[in-house]
């Protein structure tokens, strides 16, 4: 395509029309993949070509402008190239401005980070356009800070907006930020609040990162906001957006020679250093071998594998443990007790049953005294052990404490976690031989005395049979799964019903239906799990009925985490309760739920 400068107005308009029509009909890829590289090359140093390009895009009719601009933004290899190609299109053309500043940023969110970089970089590269950049930043921040947006927009969109904010911040310089500092600050405070209130950890983290970055930019010399969150690839990628790397000019022809030279220069130096390393290495072994020849080495060491650190002994009795945990000042003993507690509880079920509620109380209130590794996990495992050893009284205690005054949210959620873990343990058959209930091994065999002898005779008889019979073919061997009674069935009701009882009664420090909707969400999920684990138990129908009523009361809750929990509750109900019971006893509730779900979707 070779144009002669001068008198080319009409031709350009025609080309613009063709371009626009082609783009709008979905042929962006084909046209622009040829056009843009050409234009990139041509406009690199030639002003006339730049103006031709600008005229080209300006003349595209409004109705096709969006498609063309979108295509350009997506395909341009960098912000500077985009700037060369589009010129001040956004300033001159209203439609283009709308597309670039509103549509691409606020209404769509499927574009890649590279596209965002292009777009915002393009806005920052010219004085006229920078005013737009500031406006864009303010609008993005308003959206970011609006609580309804945080609650109702999908996480992908929120991430997109956060990325856009970070890139904008990276492009703005000091005076520009100073001019709108106050609004940025207000928006940041509001936005942080909305984000931290959310139940989804991803949203919380996004809010934290953006707020930190904003505070870094606007308070560069004063104290900055610092949040604690786990660093991973995502956060690092987000934070890297704050730093602008200079655009690389990939010019293919020239530096090949340079690069080759540099490579050649690099090689000999590498060889040299290798040589030095080699000459250094042989010197070492000589010295060492001299030392080796001493006669000291005919003393053969003994086995020292038993040489370990000396540990303080943990108490062996449960009541001793209680004493140590309640009042002892000896930190070593306290640590040893914490570590040993779970296994002690499991080994002495009878002793634990005597003091179970007391132990549960102590563990619930136990705070970390010294820096024990995995303290939270150790405490939780001990609590689960206590609960599984003596389910009914301890469950009663824990569920009553869930609704009591003066517990922290963390403690209440701990209670829920413990109930779930214990329920899981109780409902799985005990497949190991450690705690063998007398005689309840296999309900079909007779009660045999002594555990080991029973296995032995079986083995002897099997071997005798094997040696005396001739087998023609052995069928498929199937492993007999270990079976045991489901211990959760007798206590499921005790776990479940007290938790549902008081959810609508607010206390001074704990309001499930109000501020503490995070705990409500966790409660709902816990109920769903308990319902699921209660499959095949006797109480399951009553539980199902109560749960469906509970779900019905909460079905319009504003928090999405709670609503997710409600849906999983319904799934558990449908999975656990046998079909006959569902249809017989709970027809009205089922119909109501069905209509609700149908209307919802």
């Amino acid at each position: 395509v070779c144009f002669i400068p001068g008198g080319l107005d009409c031709s350009i308009s025609f080309v613009s029309h063709v371009l626009g029509k082609g783009c709008v009909h979905g042929r962006q890829k084909e046209i622009l993949s040829v056009l843009i590289p050409c234009l990139t090359d041509l406009t690199k140093s030639d002003c006339i070509w730049q103006r031709i390009c600008w005229r080209l895009v300006e003349r595209v009719p409004d109705r096709w402008m969006e498609a063309v601009v979108l295509g350009f933004v997506q395909r341009a290899p960098g912000a500077d190239v985009l700037s060369r190609l589009l010129g001040n299109l956004v300033v001159k053309n209203k439609k283009a401005q709308f597309v670039v500043t509103q549509k691409l940023l606020l209404l769509q969110f499927s574009h890649t980070t590279a596209v965002l970089q292009n777009l915002l970089g393009y806005l920052s590269l010219d004085g006229l356009r920078r005013a737009l950049l500031i406006k864009v930043l303010q609008e993005l921040l308003e959206t970011w800070a609006s609580s309804s947006a945080v609650k109702h927009s999908p996480p992908e969109q929120q991430q997109y907006i956060s990325k856009a904010i970070l890139i904008c911040l990276s492009h703005l310089n000091e005076p520009e930020i100073e001019s709108c500092r106050q609004e940025i600050l207000t928006n940041m405070m509001e936005g942080v609040k909305c984000h931290l209130d959310s139940s989804l950890p991803q949203i919380r983290r996004l809010g934290m990162i953006v707020a930190e970055s904003i505070s870094l930019k606007i308070n560069s010399d004063g104290p900055v906001l610092k949040f604690q969150y786990e660093e991973d690839d995502e956060t690092r990628a987000l934070k890297s957006l704050l730093v602008q790397t200079p655009p690389f000019c990939v010019v293919p022809s020239l530096p090949d020679d340079d690069r080759n030279e540099k490579a050649d220069a690099a090689l000999p130096s590498v060889l040299e250093s290798n040589k030095k390393a080699c000459t250094a290495a042989p010197v070492m072994p000589d010295e060492e071998s001299d030392a080796e020849l001493d006669s000291d080495d005919d003393l053969i060491p003994y086995d020292m594998s038993e040489d370990k650190e000396l540990k303080t002994k943990a108490p062996v009795y449960i009541r001793d443990c209680i004493e140590v945990l309640m009042g002892s000042d000896d930190v070593d003993k306290w640590e040893a007790t914490i570590k040993a507690l779970e296994s002690l509880v499991r080994k002495n079920p009878a002793a634990t049953r005597e003091v179970s509620v007391e132990l549960a109380k102590i563990l619930l209130h136990l705070e970390e005294k010294t820096c024990v590794e995995g303290f939270v996990e150790l405490r939780q495992r001990a609590q689960v052990a206590v609960l599984t050893t003596d389910p009914i009284p301890v469950a009663k205690y824990l569920t009553s404490q869930f609704y009591s005054l003066n517990y922290s949210l963390c403690q209440r959620m701990d209670i829920l976690d413990i109930l779930v873990l214990a329920a899981q343990e109780l409902s799985c058959p005990k497949s190991h031989g450690k705690t063998r209930h007398s005689g309840a091994q296999k309900p079909c065999t007779q009660l045999l005395p002594g555990s080991d002898s029973s296995k032995d005779w079986r083995r002897i008889v099997d071997e005798r049979i094997k040696s005396k019979t001739r087998r023609f073919a052995t069928g498929k061997s199937h492993v007999e799964l270990a079976s045991g009674p489901n211990e959760f069935s007798s206590v499921a009701g005790h776990f479940f019903f007290p938790l549902i009882q008081h959810f609508d009664r607010p206390l001074t420090t704990f309001d499930l239906l109000g501020e503490d909707h995070f705990v409500l969400g966790r409660l709902v999920h816990t109920l769903a799990i308990l319902m699921y684990l209660a499959v095949n138990t006797v109480a399951v129908t009553a539980m199902g009925k109560a749960l469906l009523e509970f779900v019905w009361a909460l079905r319009f809750h504003t928090d999405s985490y709670v609503r997710q929990g409600l849906l999983s509750c319904i799934s558990s109900v449908l999975l656990s309760i046998p079909a006959e019971h569902l249809l017989e006893d709970m027809t009205e509730e089922l119909l109501e739920t069905q209509s609700w779900l149908g209307g919802k979707m």
């Binding site: 000291d296 060491p301 003994y302 040489d307």
Partner: protein, 328 residues
């Protein structure tokens, strides 16, 4: 496949108190019986017959106050003992006697064991912690005349002397003293000038025990932390740290190097005795017999190498006797 550590040859029981110090005297000719002296917390010094494994004599000379140092002065008939009654007693044990011939009143209430060095026939130097907090006094025995008093300079803040070792390069050369102090430093003193030749901070905690090999000019010290420090003396009489060895459990009560300078033994607060090769501090064995802190370790001075023994006295009232690495 390394062998499991050996068991004790035999165990001496009967002191009914924690043992704080041990000393062998086995160099005598037949029909002299090899003997082990032990000092206990109840103030008794027991003389153990190593053939019958029984107590031959029990000496009571410190008013039931703990005896924390026992040394022989040329043979098993002359004994020196130091106790918490602030006295150092000299005993005459020849021909079945058990009498205190002389005593030195040290006026020191600490736990620092005295150190003996034979400088000439019938003449010994003894270094002991003196009355004043940071001072070490050197006496000549048996005349009990003071040779010098070693005072650290003002503001040195060394604390109490914790362990002492008198040594000389060979008979006739100048005797020197190595002292380990409460602040973790080891100081080399010149006795004739009463001046410190070199000071080396080798530990963060008090130096509990030290021993020195005058042939290699290398020494080792242990403290209440998890590290053993090995240091050496160069030509300019300066101490410098050669290396440190990290232990599994903290706390060393006693260190001793075998007279043939091949191995050394440490007794620890974690109830274990550790054997190392002296040349390169190679860990050789961990002897785990005692049920309470080991307070003292001592090698025997048998003329026949295969009969050599190691004794360890502990807070659990037992003395364990080991025969280890006797082939070299």
């Amino acid at each position: 496949m390394a062998l499991p550590p050996p068991d004790p040859e035999f165990v001496l029981r009967g002191t009914s108190a924690a043992i704080h110090t041990l000393h062998f005297s086995c160099g005598g000719q037949e029909p002299d019986v090899p003997v082990l002296f032990s000092g206990s917390e109840n103030g008794f010094i027991h003389v153990w017959n190593l053939k019958t494994h029984r107590v031959d004599t029990a000496l009571d000379g410190h008013g039931r106050k703990s005896v924390y140092c026992v040394e022989t002065m040329g043979g098993k008939d002359r004994l020196l003992s130091q106790g918490r009654d602030q006295r150092i007693c000299l005993w005459d044990l020849a021909e079945g006697r058990t009498s205190v011939t002389d005593s030195v009143f040290t006026e020191n209430v600490g736990f620092c064991r005295c150190s003996l060095l034979k400088v000439a026939q019938g003449r010994w130097l003894m270094a002991m912690a003196a009355k004043a907090l940071e001072e070490v006094q050197v006496l000549e025995l048996p005349s009990k005349t003071s040779v010098c008093t070693l005072k650290p300079e003002v503001g040195a803040k060394l604390g109490m002397p914790m362990c002492l070792k008198l040594w000389q390069l060979h008979c006739g050369s100048q005797p020197l003293l190595l002292a380990g102090y409460e602040d973790g430093s080891v100081v080399l003193w010149n006795l004739s000038t009463a001046k410190a030749l070199s000071q080396l901070v080798c530990h963060q905690e008090p130096v509990m025990s030290l021993d020195f090999d005058s042939e290699k000019a290398k020494g080792i010290s242990g403290s209440s932390e998890k590290v053993l420090s090995i240091w050496s003396l160069n030509e300019q009489q300066n101490l410098q740290v050669c290396k440190t060895h990290k232990l599994v459990n903290a706390g060393i009560a006693d260190i001793t190097i075998r007279p043939d300078k091949k191995i050394l033994a440490t007794g620890g607060w974690d109830h274990r005795i550790r054997i190392f090769g002296w040349k390169k501090m190679k860990p050789l064995a961990v002897l785990d017999y005692h049920t309470a802190s080991v307070h003292c370790v001592s090698f025997s001075d048998h003329k026949n190498p295969t009969e050599r023994l190691l004794a360890a006295g502990s807070k659990d009232h037992r003395i364990s006797i080991w025969s280890i690495y006797t082939q070299t």
